[in-house]
């Protein structure tokens, strides 16, 4: 039976049929009193015990908890830990023995018990009715143990007060109990002084050499006790106070030359951070972490950076003191370390240190590995936005980021920068000059090119004026400017959006520059036959402007007013497009800021919904008129149920929508989609995705499954929650993917004929 247990012990998979067969054997193994067998049975139980097994065998394990032999007891304790994890209700079963175990530790009964155990086992063996083979085997075991009278299985620990294996197990069990049950937590808060005492003894008077690692007494036990103290002291003033002294003691007395000491120190720091510790103690913790940062061991620097990141919100000033060290860590060769250092550095930027920090971060940006570039760039831009001391500094910073890591910035960086420049009137000349210089050097970084093109278009006249105090005087020729923009237009590196910017900039220059516009007109007419539809459309419009509406050109192309950030883009769109709409037959051109032309699900809906200029007329509520006529006080009539809608049908697979508007929340719409299958083949891997216009909020809940069996099998249902506070018209686009008849099917479609009651 022992070997059988061994076998199962290495198949840690609860779903095999062996699991069902083992409980009776496990039960008898546990109760028969032979320690190695019991040990193995407990091991099996703790590795593969399913919830049912744990429930059934809990009484047995409980008995073993109080059994004299430390060998079995320590295993029983840890098995109890597993059982509680699987079946939290068993906490009540294991709580009383726990208390007993902890108390026992201090009365030193441990020593005499193994001897008792030995003799009682002896007697049990003689009485045993087993097969001859089994008895022979068992007798062999005890022959050996009988010969070692002074040394029963296994040798007892001679320490009078503490049996470490059991103490460690007990602490682990108590930790698990306190995590699972608030009642246990409350109960065990009372033993905090006891725990403090145990730890204090460990740290000061030391332990046997067999438990210490490189000069630190029993670090595993120390860490476990500290963890328990953390749980007990969390959100509890009194316990936290009891621990303060001890934590300070551990923090200062632990030898940190090797990893074991650092592990204990780290756990102490984590505990200090989590409980209600005194301010001085918290500063001590942060300083320890700061010291860790200077440690030559990479692992320790890693844990220090991670923990400081967690602390930076709550103890900002303490962490600030270590800022230079953190910044040094940016130079790490290990990518995970430099990433952490980057996050921490960004978190440490504030208004007083922003210039210095930005310098460091920009230097880092130039040399950092590519996967960190995007994060670094966006971090710098965000920090610059929050703490920029002057606008000029801000513009400089963004410019620098764009030139260094232009391809990695987020899409809205362009919009933000144009917004920023537009708002800083005094800096127009400065910005346009700098951007022109940058553009002249390099036209490959798209965000930079876009901003530069826009700027040159808007403020081209300032560029040509020639004098600006903040930068060396630059003589720029009209022809040079036009040549540069043409170069951008023709370059194969330019994205379609960038070319759009360049073309519009050229147009604007036609009013800003003094010379005649032949060159510009030429370029514009060339692009009338461009293959890119967007450019072609613009070119046609601009050409028409030149030819037929020249008198309006100046007015249309004058400087743009400052755009409201985050406001609807509608007014600036309206300004440019209203005139253009009157001029040409084509649809109005989108604005500068709408650079990307991705035909996303959402984009399609959003653009289209932007066309709807006026809100739809509200229907009168169904039962309203009746109530008025009858003039009786009655509850508002329940909303009429909205009819179901069949939205999709293909080869027997059908999708239906049913709508519910809960009366207590008028903005909420619940749609249940039901997928049914009347064909001969199963539908598998069914996934349904949905998109709604941006003004609505959509939440998809998990579907009931992803398979619809053939011939009318159990359908799949999925719930959508749509919040529509503005009563915007509901549009719904669905994307289905599934496998049917061994083919994968993908369908994207918009739901038509949505009932009006679903959104009004």
């Amino acid at each position: 039976m022992g070997t059988q247990c061994t076998g199962t012990g290495s198949w840690p998979n609860c779903s095999t049929s062996t699991c069902w067969a083992t409980p009776p054997t496990l039960d008898s193994d546990l109760s028969q009193g032979i320690q190695p067998v019991q040990g193995l049975a407990l091991c099996t139980l703790s590795t593969m015990g399913s919830a049912e097994m744990c429930r059934d065998l809990a009484p047995e394990v409980e008995k073993l908890l109080l059994q004299p032999s430390p060998y079995v007891r320590k295993k029983a304790i840890l098995t109890a830990v597993h059982m509680i994890r699987k079946v939290p209700e068993l906490s009540s079963v294991f709580l009383p023995p726990c208390v007993h175990l902890l108390h026992e530790r201090h009365h030193g009964k441990a020593v005499g018990l193994p001897i008792l155990c030995f003799s009682s086992v002896d007697r049990r063996i003689e009485n045993r009715m087993g097969t001859p083979a089994h008895r022979r085997r068992v007798a062999h075991t005890h022959r050996h143990t009988r010969n070692r009278l002074s040394c029963p299985w296994p040798p007892p620990f001679t320490s009078p007060t503490l049996t470490p294996g059991i103490l460690l197990g007990t602490i682990t069990l108590i930790t698990e109990l306190c995590e699972r049950s608030p009642a246990a937590l409350k109960h065990f808060r009372k033993v905090v002084p006891q725990l403090v005492q145990i730890l204090r003894t460990l740290v000061t008077t030391g332990y046997s050499t067999e438990h210490s690692i490189s000069g630190v007494s029993d670090p595993f036990l120390q860490v476990q006790i500290l963890r328990l103290l953390r749980i007990l002291g969390r959100n509890h003033e009194e316990s936290s106070e009891t621990m303060n002294d001890l934590l300070a003691q551990v923090a200062t007395n632990t030898d940190t030359s090797r990893n074991a000491g650092n592990a204990v120190l780290f756990e102490t720091v984590l505990t200090i951070m989590d409980i209600h510790s005194a301010a001085g103690l918290r500063v001590l913790a942060v300083n320890i972490l700061g010291r860790f940062l200077l440690n030559s061991d990479r692992n320790i620097r890693y844990v220090a950076l991670t923990s400081l990141l967690r602390l930076v919100q709550s103890d900002h000033s303490a962490v600030q003191r270590h800022r230079p060290t953190v910044v040094d860590c940016l130079q790490e060769t290990d990518a995970s370390l430099s990433r952490r250092a980057l996050e921490l550095s960004l978190a440490l930027v504030n208004s007083s240190n922003v210039r210095a920090m930005m310098q460091e971060l920009q230097a880092f940006l130039e040399s950092c590995p590519p996967d960190l570039r995007a994060d670094c760039a966006s971090g710098i831009l965000l920090a610059a936005e929050r703490f920029a001391p002057t606008k000029r500094w801000h513009i400089d910073t963004i410019l620098h980021v764009l030139t260094t890591a232009g391809t990695h910035v987020r899409d809205d960086a362009v919009a933000n920068l144009t917004q920023l420049i537009g708002g800083a009137q005094e800096l127009h000349a400065y910005s346009v000059r700098r951007l022109y210089n940058a553009l002249a050097e390099d036209i490959s970084q798209q965000p930079l090119v876009q901003v530069a093109a826009w700027c040159i278009g808007e403020y081209g006249d300032l560029l040509l004026e020639g004098n600006c105090e903040e930068i060396e005087p630059l003589q720029v020729d009209e022809e040079e400017v036009l040549a540069l923009l043409e170069k951008v237009l023709q370059s194969h590196m330019s994205l379609p959006a960038t070319r759009g910017y360049a073309l519009t900039a050229l147009m604007k220059l036609s009013t800003r520059l003094q010379g005649d516009n032949n060159r510009i007109r030429q370029v514009v007419s060339i692009y009338r036959s461009c293959l890119d539809v967007e450019l072609q459309q613009r070119a046609v419009e601009y050409d028409t402007l030149f030819r037929k509406y020249d008198h309006m050109r100046a007015a249309i192309l004058e400087k743009m007013p400052l755009v409201e950030r985050d406001g609807p883009q509608a007014d600036e769109e309206a300004k440019q497009s209203k005139e253009a709409a009157q001029l040409s037959e084509a649809a109005p051109a989108p604005t500068e800021s709408q650079a990307s032309q991705l035909l996303d699900l959402l984009d399609l809906l959003d653009r289209a919904s932007g066309d709807a200029q006026h809100p739809p007329p509200l229907d009168p509520s169904p039962g309203g008129a009746l109530v008025y006529l009858l003039d009786l006080p009655c509850a508002p009539p329940p909303p009429a149920p909205i009819p179901d809608l069949k939205v999709f049908e293909r080869e027997g697979v059908q999708l239906n929508l049913s709508f519910i508007r809960p009366p207590e929340n008028p903005a909420l719409l619940l749609i249940t989609i039901t997928a049914t299958n009347s064909s001969e083949g199963d539908v598998t891997n069914f996934i349904c995705q949905a998109a709604v216009p941006k003004s609505l909020q959509l939440q998809l809940q998990a579907p009931s499954g992803n398979t619809v069996p053939a011939r009318g099998g159990l359908p799949i249902t999925q719930l959508f929650r749509i919040l529509n506070p503005n009563k915007a018209p509901l549009r719904l686009k669905l994307r289905l993917t599934y496998n049917h008849f061994h083919q994968s099917v993908q369908e994207i479609f918009e739901v038509n004929n949505l009932p009006v009651e679903s959104w009004q």
Partner: protein, 166 residues
């Protein structure tokens, strides 16, 4: 039920060679076979791609992985929760020390040919992912006893005798 994040639970421990051969796997949380294979494959790829000078901790899926290379074997532990990677390193080291003491200058071949002993030692040292005993001596003593027990069992017996029917 308390809502705070779980404290340390070791999910699994893996031993694999530099060539990507799995030598030992111990799972402390029930997972399906398919899921396990997938996790092992992925994790091995990630760990084997690490350069020698990098730190021993990495984040993978939602777990923290602590690994250490001893000669040609990678010892890998996946822990969850918010804490102490350093003590897990100590744990790995302790396990290696136990193997070393038992096999006498352990090498990968020892583990390949005596993998069941490696599992026994692990089961005496850790249970359910928690340390059972912090004393090397007592763990090794227990293994010794178990070995003796097995040796006595070596006498050949018929199948019926094994089942207790003869």
């Amino acid at each position: 039920m308390l809502e705070e994040s779980r404290e340390e639970l070791m999910r699994f421990m893996l031993l694999f060679s530099r060539q990507g051969k799995l030598r030992l796997q111990k799972w402390y949380l029930a997972t399906s076979d398919k899921e396990r294979k997938k996790m092992v494959r992925e994790l091995m790829q990630v760990v084997l791609a690490r350069k020698p000078k990098m730190c021993s901790f990495l984040e993978w899926r939602d777990l923290k992985v602590v690994y250490k290379r001893y000669a040609s074997l990678y010892f890998c532990c996946a822990i969850e929760g918010q804490d102490n990677e350093l003590i897990t390193l100590e744990l790995i080291h302790r396990y290696v020390e136990l193997l070393d003491k038992y096999f006498g200058s352990v090498c990968e071949l020892d583990i390949i040919f005596n993998f069941e002993k490696a599992y026994f030692i692990l089961d005496e040292f850790l249970m359910g992912g928690d340390v059972q005993d912090t004393s090397k001596k007592s763990v090794l003593k227990a293994i010794e006893q178990a070995d003796l027990l097995q040796e006595e069992d070596e006498s050949p017996r018929s199948v019926l005798e094994e089942m207790g029917l003869a």
